[in-house]
Subunit: 329 residues, 2 copies
């Protein structure tokens, strides 16, 4: 199988992206086409030994900064690694997925415009596989559509239902609507209307889920608008970082505590690995006509490698075919 | 000084509330009037020795469940501990604050209707003092108004400015608007319009703050709507609980790690104490004509005692007078 990877996206591009692509072709049965400034990409590739025929480079003279306006990128930067990468996925049926750790807004906009939407879906949504106390859960939308209508959330829920069933292999996913209270009368008019729609259309809709249950694993799919979803993952990330920094500061005050931390290290590493976003590597952009994986801007080689694996998995499972069938029907 | 305390509010009422009130009269120069089912309250009071003249009981025959509709409570339960408590604050200028760990929606509704709003403020907002890597920050609104207009957020920001200056004693509080991107062009139309209003009206407005900075301490006041604010604190609480449970589960797998945890204990306790909401005890309901403190539903005696202290502090600092002066002017 062949995939396209944006070589210029993310804080550590192209170094980390190229390294991740090399790891991927060594580990998986995949061919990777890297799109980016050819000279820079080839310079990185020279550092590694790998099956040469399995990595191609396509030149994209323009790059996209992480804070550039998405609409400007799509309209004016037709030669960026994002635009060319998405175009390849569209025009060439050989390519099964596009992976980018670049400007999220630009990837969403380019994918929406160039690939088009699946029938029955009006807006794309980004799903995120999150570690919980039990198994993995799926939070959607984490940022594609910050200001949706209730029926957009219903469409996200229908897609999440298929995705968690097919990819996370959960038989009858429990779907919850994120709300600040459990009762159906709680929250904004927007959430109440969404609740009503989901109750009518989704047999496995379990009602509202409060944000403190996000990491408990009680629900398999948690549905929310892109503003709230993005805020939830960012505050969670920030909280863990601040708590970690506070812990380090406290531990350093006492040699006994330092010894304690040392003895706990292997168990802490175990948790860290479980909670590490780079293990899953990418967040699927659902609703567009193609397998697009969005990776964290901070992605290192492992995250990129695993995002490639996640993209391959989507293709192997024929997720687009299932989405087309189950949402329209 | 005299304060009114809702003896029937919260998961551990009246036991924890009475215990907290007893601690408060022993520690602070305060007289507490407990409002609730008199028989139950007096039965609890009998367990303690304390200066008898410093605690009064006023009978309220009705109680409010945590999930009852706020509007129903205010309209039909005029003899609940919440309604009577707020009425006392209104009618009796002796009482300087009302403290409740009960149904938040009912406390907000009763306070808004019975006390009325401060001039220049249309909607109430709940502020929360949160521990950060540096000092304390102030997040507002954490749930009073889930669906506000931009000018409501501006009013919350003006109140937060006064509160953090007067109560947290921060000279020139840095005010940020919670958004999912740093640039002023990011986010929903609602957030963009709020950003514009705040830029025009607040000299110490520093722009957007991303949710991952909430616990970093870079901003002193973080302003958001009540849906997002409530979601942020709930997900933070849930994440710490899930991470803690995961950590315990991992540690129990290894005797060495258990020894390590034991050696770290005193430092962990130190952090726990710092991050413990019961240290601050209550969240001020700002915008209404009275000092109302909302405590966590799980409040124990220490949280109630500290909420009483926080209410006293608001009165001592004449926060209502300052709010009236600075918001209208």
């Amino acid at each position: 199988m062949k995939v396209v990877v944006d070589a210029m996206g993310g804080d550590h591009a192209p170094v980390a992206i190229v390294a991740g692509a090399v790891e991927a072709v060594k580990e998986f049965d995949v061919e990777v086409t890297l799109v980016g400034i050819e000279e820079e990409v080839r310079r990185e590739l020279k550092k590694y030994s790998y099956p040469q025929e399995r990595i191609k480079v396509i030149h994209a003279p323009e790059t996209v900064a992480m804070d550039e306006s998405a609409t400007v990128v799509v309209r004016k930067k037709r030669n960026s690694s994002i635009s060319i990468g998405v175009d390849l996925l569209k025009d060439n049926s050989e390519y099964k997925a596009f992976i980018s750790a670049g400007n999220t807004g630009a990837v969403v906009a380019a994918s929406t415009i160039l690939l088009g939407m699946l029938p029955g879906v009006e807006r794309p949504a980004i799903g995120l596989v999150i570690p919980t106390l039990n198994r993995f859960s799926f939070l959607i939308d984490v940022g594609a559509n910050p200001d949706p209508k209730p029926h957009h959330l219903l469409q996200s829920a229908l897609m999440a239902n298929v995705y968690t069933n097919e990819i996370l292999e959960i038989a009858n996913p429990k779907i919850g609507l994120l709300n600040i209270g459990e009762e159906s009368t709680k929250g904004t008019d927007f959430v109440k209307e969404t609740h009503k729609m989901m109750s009518e259309r989704l047999p496995n809709f379990m009602g509202n889920v409060e944000p403190n249950e996000l990491f408990s694993g009680k629900f398999d799919c948690i549905i929310c608008d892109g503003f709230v979803g993005n805020a939830l993952i960012k505050v969670s990330q920030g909280l863990m970082e601040s708590a970690g920094a506070l812990l380090k500061r406290e531990i350093k005050k006492s040699p006994i505590a330092m010894l304690g931390a040392f003895l706990m290290k292997s168990r802490l590493e175990h948790i860290k690995r479980y909670a590490d976003y780079s293990e899953y590597g990418g967040a699927p952009l659902l609703g567009v006509n193609g397998n697009v994986m969005i990776s964290h801007g901070r992605s290192g080689p492992k995250a990129i490698k695993n995002a490639i694996r996640a993209g391959l998995r989507e293709a192997e499972h024929g997720i687009l075919t299932r989405l087309r069938k189950e949402i329209e029907g």
